[in-house]
Symmetry: C2
Subunit: 554 residues, 2 copies
């Protein structure tokens, strides 16, 4: 008889796209699934990356038996360099992810002492009370896996990010047979990818994109550039294959894609039997209709190759009229504006641009509703927890599960930090653990309570005004006129004169009766100065800059 419940503790990726992380706990054993980052929104000013809050895991670090990585994307692996610092546990990952993580940890000089294990499909790993077995799924990177986890309470299946592609480029379809076999054994709990739980029908096969790319490359009169995700090895393979067919050479531009192509070739995930891959500088000698350039930047990332090319700002590649540029990606939510601007800039430079709205040059890597139904039908789980997606995606996926026969209360929409306890008697919510955004900013990690982002938001809106008072150390009296400087507030041409008048306003705010005779109470004066200057500046400009008073004692 089971004495303990299985505890499900999502730490990231539930109610957002990215930063995926999930803990499973049984008695004194914890395993972790994925450790991803979230790329910051524009409103997270100056933040480099967002990682999950792992304080619960750190607190119970003696129980954590390992981190199981489903595939090599950053939103599933990118937090590892930070997580492993305070949680030095074994990491199990499919072979390609293992390679990518190794590179990433090396960059962070964090590889030493880490136990990083490459696993194959069907391989089984014991981790405390858990036994974890990987099975193959299709996604937009090779070597993506789902997990079948034996627990004392029952079998848990986690799909990872997946789609069902019967004709994938690498010839390795999702292992539906294994999913069916698990279903026959009886699945206690299913976690399934909800990213596209709103989308009706089936996600098309990568093969469809291959055909569109081949047509674009075959028909182009001049050069062809293809921008896609650096990790989308299957897409890169399609471009190489198609270039070979049409007598073109391919050069790769953009550091992350160059690195990935090199690694994928070495590890056998990318084939170039025709030898079409050449260094960029070799292209100069070729006629334009023998040239293909593969590049990063399909998400409009400001420092990426494609964006620099679109801005006419790349040292090696300039757009020429006659170029065909294929943006082989769909904007991730939040990137719509920058992607759209990049496409416009390419058009302005005279290129013909093909993108998702006008040509079938991308399919996404996640299952649509019919595929989600298939997995639910094959596994018919007792409990269902939708993972990976914004809250409405989780809601839609839970409803789908109920429509397919999962009892209403057994399809549970969790949010990060929720603790769900499951046993054969049923499920219950069992409180909360810390979960939320940890911001990586240079060498610092902030949490949401930090004032840094709040202050930056104020600075970003209306700028800053600093007022410096000189105070006599002995008497505490203010000497002379305050010095007032500003930044990001009004135009520098206007600021000088306005700051002079602000200095007078500051002086006026100091109580005239007390000023010459009494020592200053700085905390009182500081509040008063902020208020008086704030009012003066608002009346003048209708702006509310941050006002910071500084006292200098002499």
């Amino acid at each position: 008889m089971t004495q303990h419940p299985l505890r499900v503790i999502p730490l990231g990726g539930l109610g957002e796209i990215g930063k995926n992380m999930m803990a499973l706990e049984y008695h004194r054993d914890i395993i972790v699934i994925d450790a991803g980052v979230l790329f910051p929104e524009e409103a997270m000013l100056g933040v480099d990356l967002v990682i999950p809050d792992i304080s619960y895991l750190v607190e119970h670090r003696d129980r954590v038996r390992g981190i199981f990585i489903t595939h090599g994307h950053e939103d599933h692996t990118g937090a590892l360099p930070y997580v492993l610092r305070s949680l030095p546990v074994p990491v199990y990952a499919p072979r390609l992810a293992h390679g990518l993580i190794t590179v990433k940890l090396k960059e962070h000089r964090a590889l030493r002492g880490v136990k990083l294990v490459a696993v194959e499909p069907k391989q089984s790993i014991r981790a405390g009370a858990f036994r974890v077995q990987f099975f193959r799924v299709c996604h937009s990177i090779p070597d993506a896996m789902g997990l079948a986890i034996e627990t004392p309470v029952g079998l848990v299946v986690h799909t990872g990010d997946f789609k069902i592609d019967h004709t994938p480029v690498d010839g390795q379809p999702s292992d539906l047979g294994e999913v069916a076999r698990l279903g026959q054994k009886g699945v206690f709990l299913l976690f399934s990818d909800s990213t596209y739980a709103e989308l009706p029908g089936y996600t098309p096969s990568e093969r469809v994109v291959g055909e569109a790319l081949d047509r674009a490359i075959g028909e182009a009169e001049g050069r062809v550039m293809v921008a896609t995700f650096a990790s989308l090895i299957s897409r890169i393979q399609q471009v190489i294959t198609s270039a070979h067919r049409h007598g073109r050479k391919v050069a790769v531009v953009g550091r992350s894609m160059v690195d990935n192509v090199k690694m994928a070739q070495e590890m056998g995930y990318l084939a170039d039997p025709g030898g079409v891959l050449v260094p960029l500088k070799a292209l100069g000698k070729l006629p334009q209709r023998q040239v293909v350039i593969l590049t990063t930047g399909s998400q409009g990332e400001p420092t990426s190759a494609l964006v620099r090319i679109a801005n006419g700002d790349h040292p090696d590649v300039r757009v020429m009229p006659g170029d065909t540029i294929v943006v082989s990606a769909t904007p991730i939510p939040g990137n719509e504006t920058v992607v759209s601007r990049t496409i416009d800039n390419l058009f302005r430079l005279g290129a013909r641009v093909l993108y998702d709205k006008v040509a079938l040059v991308h399919v996404h890597g996640h299952a649509s509703r019919e595929e989600l139904k298939l997995v639910l039908s094959l596994t018919h789980p007792r409990f269902f927890v939708p993972v990976h997606g914004q809250y409405r995606h989780l809601m839609a996926h839970a409803q789908l599960a109920r429509d397919l026969g999962v009892p209403k209360d057994n399809a549970v929409v969790l949010q990060d930090g929720d603790v769900l306890e499951l046993s054969h008697a049923g499920g219950r919510m069992a409180g909360q653990v810390p979960a939320g955004n940890i911001y990586v900013d240079g060498l610092r990690l902030w949490d949401v309570k930090s004032a840094v982002l709040r202050d930056r938001r104020v600075l970003a809106r209306d700028g800053i005004v600093v007022v410096v008072l000189t105070v006599d150390k002995g008497t505490g009296q203010v000497l002379g006129t305050p010095e007032v400087v500003s930044s990001g507030f009004v135009d520098p041409g206007e600021a000088g004169e306005l700051m002079k008048r602000a200095a007078q306003a500051a002086l006026g705010a100091l109580d005239h009766r007390s000023r010459p005779s009494q020592p200053l109470d700085w905390s009182y004066i500081s509040v008063k100065l902020k208020e008086a200057l704030g009012n003066f500046l608002y009346a003048e400009t209708h702006l509310r800059p941050l006002v910071i008073p500084v006292s200098v004692e002499v």
Copy 2:
């Protein structure tokens, strides 16, 4: 014989969505079509609004005969309060737009002295060498018009924002007969709406949405809230009609929608024969299934009613489980993230939410490709200039025109500020006039050259550090230790200690040999301090805050 060319001078809306404005010039006469605003992107930190640069018009203000408004949306009218200040010319607008502009100018206390004329379809206005006649089109606001403009060079047709809806809610379809008649007279130049030039097929009729809304309202067990654009009178009409049919009352929440509903009723654009419109406080007495709430906020605007409701932060309306909330809009490009967050928050509060991805609760107000083809076919213009849209939309629309027989060089993609001269002999580009973003920020107007936004961007990224040096007025020597303060840089808990060390670093940067004996060269010292402190702080944090040195003389 024509002696002068027709000059086409777009000042906004070509290569972007919003801020629509176009000038037509013949010899010594200029007319202006629309004067819109652009709502700022997140990257335009703290900016309230963006308006077109009208310096060319101001320079030639003696030639400007009037501004012709196609319809009452802000992206066609919102710049009027600013434009009329320096360009006090007559404004001609359809009746509803006239009403909305009057309200807007009153708010800005800018109505006095303005000649604002309400026009009807088929009405004709002489303006210098031009004669302008309005014709009816369908759009997502009643009383939208296109313009037929007789010029000495030939007939110019401007579609305004339009779609072809054979079954509009107000029973006033686009006047295709008039467009056909103009085509038979011979159209020299066509301007046509490119917003959805990428979208195949036809835009569905508003009637389709009416049916979906009626189903949602009819089936709901509890309250229904419908969020849409405050100016989308036809959608509001559909909700009122449907509420009446299902025995519900309707209250309007959100100032702009309350104002618009009031005006639309007074002007006869909105009918409430059943008397279902009631004040919000009257809803409290009704059973939940007799309640409909109409609200603003369908674009996730931070201070809108729906967003406050979704945040549990509205003084009068709280979401209850059992509520059905319909977001009857599609996110405008750039708003995807905030709309998505709002929908998620409503789900979290327990509501059932219907939105564009899962129900047909919105159709857009612009023509799709088949409708654009129809207008091109009916007018078969000699010249074609696509208007309203991002650059790739203009490119797609120009290509469509060429496919339909407009000679290649006569379908001209312009960008704001381009001057195109057209005559019977042909067209030629004739230079540039100033055009671009003017930022409205409180009471100030900045142009792109202003340092304000650049400074805000630096502040927003890594914050600011201010270093105050006290300098002896007589000798120019630095006294004591510099005072260093920061904001938005590192956590306040850490800042104190770090700023102390920064002060020492600043002191160290002052050349020790010269410090005690020589007066300071402030510009030299300032550069040196910025560099030394910047390096110190980067080494400590990997952040690059703005460093501002201030000297105080005593």
